[in-house]
């Protein structure tokens, strides 16, 4: 679905490279979380995938298209929910009437169901909605387009607690094997239990791209009173020390995304060693 090879990108000619030789492959039917610190380049990577920015080097193929060409067929098959955006001064029904028909597979019934489920006011002008409601509206619209790739940039920013759980439920409901979701966030708790693979973007490259299943089988997360010497990563908490160890016993533990992110960003070499193909075998 997404194939990126040796991608290089920098914002200005003299500035540092945001990405150099970035490689990434994302198959269809994935719910992938893209994690990274502020300024790591998550939004830029999403823009490159959507054809809003153009790479200076390397190859980027999404759904068999080159995003930079911005072909209408490609744009109809991808939906981007940006972090910040503005909607026109239209009611939701008018918006759907005007723009829905540009998407060949737009499902109006599904849109209506989703809008009701997400409790977005239908009579109110879209530009007067709160940021959270705007996000919910655009999410419903995006899901109704039945685009094969949904790219969500910080989708839970501005959502209240009930809306966050609604968002997670909705994504799980709408997930189909031929459809992929790429969710970029720094609010890792919102993705807990939702995604099936994780990508960590740091130091101008993808430091980790693994399935949640692989991470859970290779890493063991425990809470201990003392910081153990053989730990891969330790973080102090109220209960004691949250520890990540290499899972030798084969007993799976539930993945803690925040802890795992700490491990990947502080010790990328350890993670690379742990997940190299020979180590897995």
């Amino acid at each position: 679905m997404i194939d990126i090879q040796n991608l290089g990108f920098r914002y200005s000619r003299k500035g540092d490279a945001l990405f150099s030789n970035l490689n990434l492959a994302l198959p269809a039917g994935t719910l992938c979380g893209l994690l990274g610190a502020n300024g790591a380049g998550k939004s830029t990577l999403l823009k490159l995938m959507s054809g809003l920015s153009f790479p200076q080097r390397g190859r980027c193929t999404v759904l068999g298209h080159e995003p930079g060409q911005r072909e209408p067929e490609f744009l109809a098959d991808i939906f981007l929910l940006p972090e910040e955006f503005q909607l026109p001064a239209l009611e939701s029904a008018v918006f759907v009437e005007r723009f829905g028909c540009l998407y060949p597979r737009f499902d109006e019934d599904r849109f209506t169901r989703l809008i009701v489920e997400l409790q977005v006011p239908r009579q109110q002008k879209l530009n007067t909605l709160s940021q959270g409601q705007k996000k919910k509206f655009l999410l419903a619209f995006g899901l109704a387009t039945q685009a094969r790739l949904m790219i969500l940039d910080e989708p839970t920013n501005g959502l209240d607690i009930p809306s966050k759980s609604q968002f997670r439920r909705l994504l799980i409901d709408q997930f189909q094997p031929e459809r992929s979701f790429l969710i970029s966030t720094h609010q890792v708790h919102d993705l807990q239990g939702l995604i099936d693979s994780v990508m960590v973007l740091a130091q101008v490259q993808i430091l980790l791209h693994e399935t949640v299943e692989a991470l859970e089988s290779r890493l063991q997360i425990t809470v201990e009173q003392e910081a153990p010497a053989d730990a891969l990563y330790v973080e102090k908490s109220l209960e004691g020390f949250r520890v990540i160890r290499e899972n030798d016993g084969g007993q799976e533990s539930r993945l803690d995304l925040e802890l795992m992110f700490g491990l990947v960003t502080t010790g990328p070499a350890k993670v690379r060693e742990l997940f190299r193909p020979e180590a897995r075998a």
């Binding site: 959507s50 809003l52 930079g68 911005r70 209408p72």
Partner: protein, 254 residues
Amino acid sequence: MSQAFSFPRFRRALQNDVLRVSRPLLFGTLALLGVTWLSYLLNFEPGKVTHDPKASQLLYALMLGCSGLLFSSSSFNDMHHPLERYHYLMLPVSNLERFLSRYLLTGPLLLLYVTVAFSIMDWTGNQVTALIKDVSEPLFAPFSEESLTTMRIFLLLQPVMFLGAICFRSYAWIKTTLSFLLVLVSVPAVIYVSMRIFYYDAFSWSKLEAVKNIRTGLVPLFEAHWMNVTVVVGFALWILYVAYRCLRAHEVQE
């Protein structure tokens, strides 16, 4: 295989663009209607000879020139707006369809709209002045030579404003006008200096104009009317092509 132009998609894009501007256009028209009535009421006096140029012709030229060109220069505001940009760019419409839709809307269709709207404004303005002051002028003639010249000038300048709307992120109207004026001054200046260099024996130091008759090989070409028309139309088409390439450069990776 990608389809760069699909008629149903183009029609939808044009329809959306028309609907997007319909409200400001309606309010603008109502404001201009007020301006027309007011200017007719203030200027039409019983027994006065008809002005030359007539008030209607002048007002029509001003409306088309100012509001039309201002409207053209704001045609890509949503593309330049940091938050509206996503909606504009992510819609599944091709670059060519977007370009044609916005050009048609701000060029030929706007010309048609302003002409029809102004004819109505002029007629109603005359009715109002006839009612209040018992005076009226001959009605606006959209197919008169003056009106057709105004339309031609608009169709020639509109692509320049359209290009500015694509290239300049903000204050497109001012920036385009200034750039165009700069070109308008600098091109003749360069030509004049070149003439003085190449035909130095035809000029004297004390005078700006040539003291001898200069006859270049190009001059006879422009004696034919069709040649001048071709050059002007060619210029407008070239500007439109440059505008299209600029829009592509903004939106698409070559």
